[in-house]
Amino acid sequence: MKYWREPLDLKDIRVPHGVIHILKERCKGCGWCIEYCPRDVLAPSDEINTKGYHPPHVVQADACVSCGLCELLCPEFAIYVEETEGEVVLYER
């Protein structure tokens, strides 16, 4: 994301980074996490679990900002985010 000027509080803002864990055997492939991830971190995979559904997989692991929306929306308790030490750079100078 590029802005016409550098935000004044750029140095103070720390955008957290998250690591996504997917419990594939619980997934029923509803696709809500893929659709509503604001950073498009997830995508459908070709993998099939024992129930015959396609669980999502992580395609842009660096982009996750640990918002936790996938964890809250998932009806199967099959995905969760763990916040890590790292940072996500949202603004390019």
């Binding site: 419990l23 619980r26 029923k28 509803c30 809250l72 199967e76 099959a78």
Partner: protein, 300 residues
């Protein structure tokens, strides 16, 4: 020797397969919600695309935020898909007869006023079969939190029309469209005297979580109506084959109006789906009123 199919032997149970393949941890217990769930019962019976799991996640996360003593929290459910919630939470829970979740909850609250009683049930259970209990608990301002998941039909029994099915709604018992006027659950509660009334779809999960949190902390009869997709019973007859299609519908038609007049929030098959916090007022609860009246009577 059992029949073998893609590596799975039919004479072995799923549990034996899970253990042999080392999936036990993956299925039972690493998710942050797992300490509040009876994970041995997962995966739950709800269809793919159903919003009940999301509603339950929002409730558990709100419950955790509210920092109640979990030994004092009781979840009461009636019958139906939503009624299964009582069987999935690792709390004291009560799975009651059809429509009678609120009478059982009232009994629990009056028997032990220190408990925090939450009724988690569906529209068919709470307002169709248990409609009279619902309005009378609201009238008495009984100190319980009611979470009503509304999916506009009787999902578990095969998608029959209920008291919340919108006019024109096609269900298995109204194949040419429903011609009865539906109940508006939020308006019904507000008119009966509830002190907290909010309505959210499962798509607005953050706001729903905050609303449940507020409702749990509110003394008196609080209602959170959750609009949830039912792709199997209702959605597939309304061009919403998947749960995701219904969420797109909520995204397009949801209108957030805090403090809206509940009488103007009827839900139709199309048009705006008004949601938000409609009622938030302070009123003495049933137990407060009773002890006040008792003190007055003893003074005389």
């Amino acid at each position: 020797m059992g029949i073998e199919m893609q590596g799975y032997r039919l004479d072995k149970t799923m549990e034996q397969h899970e253990e042999a393949e080392g999936w036990v941890d993956e299925i039972h217990g690493t998710h942050p919600m797992d300490d509040l769930l009876r994970t041995d019962r997962l995966p739950h019976i709800w269809c793919p695309g159903c919003g009940l799991g999301t509603a339950l996640t929002c409730f558990l996360s709100a419950l955790r935020k509210s920092k109640f003593d979990l030994d004092k929290v009781v979840v009461v459910s009636g019958i139906g898909c939503t009624g299964r919630v009582a069987g999935y939470v690792r709390l004291d829970s009560f799975h009651t007869t059809h429509g009678r979740a609120i009478p059982f909850a009232t009994g629990l609250k009056l028997g032990n006023p220190a408990l925090k009683v939450v009724v988690f049930s569906g529209d068919g259970d709470l307002v169709t079969i248990g409609g009279n209990h619902f309005i009378h608990a609201a009238r008495r301002n009984m100190d319980i939190t009611v979470i009503c998941v509304n999916n506009f039909n009787y999902g578990m029994t095969g998608g029959q029309a209920g008291a919340t099915t919108p006019v024109g709604g096609v269900t298995s018992t109204s194949p040419y469209g429903n011609y009865e006027y539906p109940f508006n659950v939020s308006a019904l509660a507000a008119a009966s005297g509830a002190v907290y009334v909010a309505r959210w779809t499962v798509l607005h999960a953050r706001r729903l979580e905050r609303s449940i949190h507020e409702a749990l902390l509110k003394p008196g009869f609080s209602l959170v109506e959750i609009i949830s997709p039912c792709p199997t019973g209702f959605g597939r007859r309304h061009k919403q084959r998947e749960g995701l299609d219904t969420l797109h519908y909520y995204h397009e038609h949801g209108v957030i109006k805090h403090g809206a007049d509940p009488r103007e929030t009827d839900i139709g098959l199309s048009g705006a789906l008004v949601e938000g916090k409609f009622v938030d007022l302070d009123k003495p609860t049933f137990l407060e009123q009773r002890s006040r009246r008792l003190a007055q009577a003893l003074e005389k």
